[in-house]
């Protein structure tokens, strides 16, 4: 299911943008960075061409670290297998904010305006996250209508799920990938895109699945 016609008035979370740039707890941005974030976040709409696509697939079986999804798709990851073992279905999605913003980032960097480039890049990352939340909400409502719940989002590259598994995610999409393509190195183009899965299963069970608290990689930027 693809809906490219969604509104592109994004509420950019300025704190999240600062987090993307490395300002964590206690890290205060300079006056210049703060004003750039505000200026760009409030005037970004013309650089964003949001598009998303998702499909909901049945789970045929889970064997060890392999998950067999309908449509000859196999996900390989212990973490994903443990999640999908509890689920009846899985939503597979791709979202993108298009290529316009990254073109401007590239041009800014080329002109030596690296601060501006870094700020705009971080805003683009936040916009893509916002769009992924939109899809998560839609999938959540569909699941709720069936009395089911949804899990956190997981993308190739998270935990032990290899980036090369992007190929399987894209295969699961069945041809509609919201205008996003994969390179041989499994990079998405446009780059400001997010792909991944959301498990759909018994309410009150799947929502709580989170491998982070027991993970030893304490400095992981994706820690939840």
């Amino acid at each position: 299911m693809s809906s490219p016609g969604i509104r592109n008035e994004f509420d950019i979370d300025k704190q999240q943008v600062l987090n993307h740039m490395g300002y964590g707890a206690g890290g205060a941005p300079s006056a210049r960075v703060e004003s750039l974030v505000k200026e760009y976040a409030d005037n970004i709409c013309h650089l964003i061409e949001p598009s998303y696509s998702y499909v909901i697939r049945g789970i045929d079986s889970v064997r060890g670290s392999r998950v067999f999804i309908e449509g000859s798709v196999t996900f390989r990851s212990n973490i994903i297998a443990q999640l999908l073992e509890q689920c009846q279905k899985v939503a597979v999605f791709v979202v993108t904010i298009g290529g316009r913003l990254e073109e401007v980032v590239r041009q800014l960097a080329k002109d030596g305006l690296m601060v501006q480039a870094a700020v705009l890049d971080a805003i683009g990352s936040d916009a893509a996250e916002t769009l992924a939340h939109v899809v998560q909400d839609i999938v959540g409502k569909e699941a709720e209508a069936e009395g089911l719940g949804i899990s956190l989002r997981f993308s190739p590259g998270y935990c032990d799920w290899r980036v090369s598994q992007q190929k399987m995610v894209f295969r699961a999409m069945g041809g509609d990938t919201a205008g996003v393509r994969l390179t041989d190195g499994c990079l998405m183009v446009p780059q400001k895109s997010i792909s991944g899965i959301i498990g759909i299963g018994p309410r009150g069970e799947v929502e709580g699945y989170n491998p982070c608290p027991t993970c030893k990689k304490r400095d992981c930027i994706g820690r939840r």
Partner: protein, 232 residues
């Protein structure tokens, strides 16, 4: 009342250049990292003034720009500065070097060496590499940036033609970092491996990975990359 002698004036201007590098102020309209500095001369104006006063270009670079960046590096290490702050300072140094470049040769300033940089085949991420490029330029290296998604053969050709002392390879993904190994292998097959020191960087790589693929060094971040090159 004492008057400022010329050497004292030079020190004052160089000190201001250093402070403005730390504040990441390129030009006078820039408010600076701490804010409220708009209207005061920035690194561009101060560098022009220093040149007009006949201050030695080596002093402008070493005591002004480089010392300023050293302070920025320490603040970055201590997590008092973040990536955008460091970029603002690197921008200021880059702008000053643009003005100083035509004066380098006649002032007897030699580049520390030539570096070729590339994001390896299959990878499109550039921000990290661009940061390293700016910091290396600011530290006195000549940099040739081949861009992203660069085939091993294109890197080999550039090394053969341009004879750099250093080659910096960047990758952001576990799926593309393997192409660093292919690039080093291509250098070996072309008989060029011992002509150039190879340093790698990027989120998924490590010192151990660098050793395992036969690289000469690993830069954990831009400032570290400069230190590693300096150590060669």
């Amino acid at each position: 009342m004492p008057t400022l002698s010329k050497p004292r004036m030079s020190e004052d201007i160089i000190g201001l250049i250093r402070e403005n590098v730390i504040q990441g102020r390129v030009a006078q309209d820039d408010e600076g990292l701490d804010g409220g500095m708009a209207g005061q001369p920035g690194v561009l104006e101060l560098t022009e003034k220093a040149l007009a006063m006949g201050i030695d270009v080596r002093d402008i670079i070493n005591k002004g720009l480089t010392e300023g960046m050293n302070v920025v590096g320490k603040k970055f290490e201590a997590k008092k500065y973040y990536i955008p702050d460091m970029l603002a300072s690197a921008e200021a140094v880059g702008a000053a070097m643009g003005i100083l470049e035509p004066h380098l040769a006649k002032s007897g300033v030699k580049a520390k060496g030539k570096v070729i940089l590339a994001t390896v085949k299959g990878d499109l991420h550039e921000i990290g590499k661009n940061i390293v490029s700016m910091l290396l330029r600011g530290a006195g290296y000549t940099v040739r940036d081949l861009g992203n998604d660069v085939e091993p053969q294109a890197i080999v050709d550039a090394v053969r033609e341009e004879k750099p002392q250093f080659l910096g390879l960047s990758a952001l993904l576990t799926s593309t970092m393997v192409n660093m190994k292919d690039t080093i292998q291509a250098l070996e097959e072309s008989g060029l491996r011992d002509k150039v020191k190879v340093i790698i960087g990027g989120a998924p790589v490590s010192e151990e990975f660098a050793q395992s693929i036969g690289a000469d060094g690993y830069g954990a971040d831009g400032f570290h990359a400069v230190k590693v090159l300096d150590s060669f």
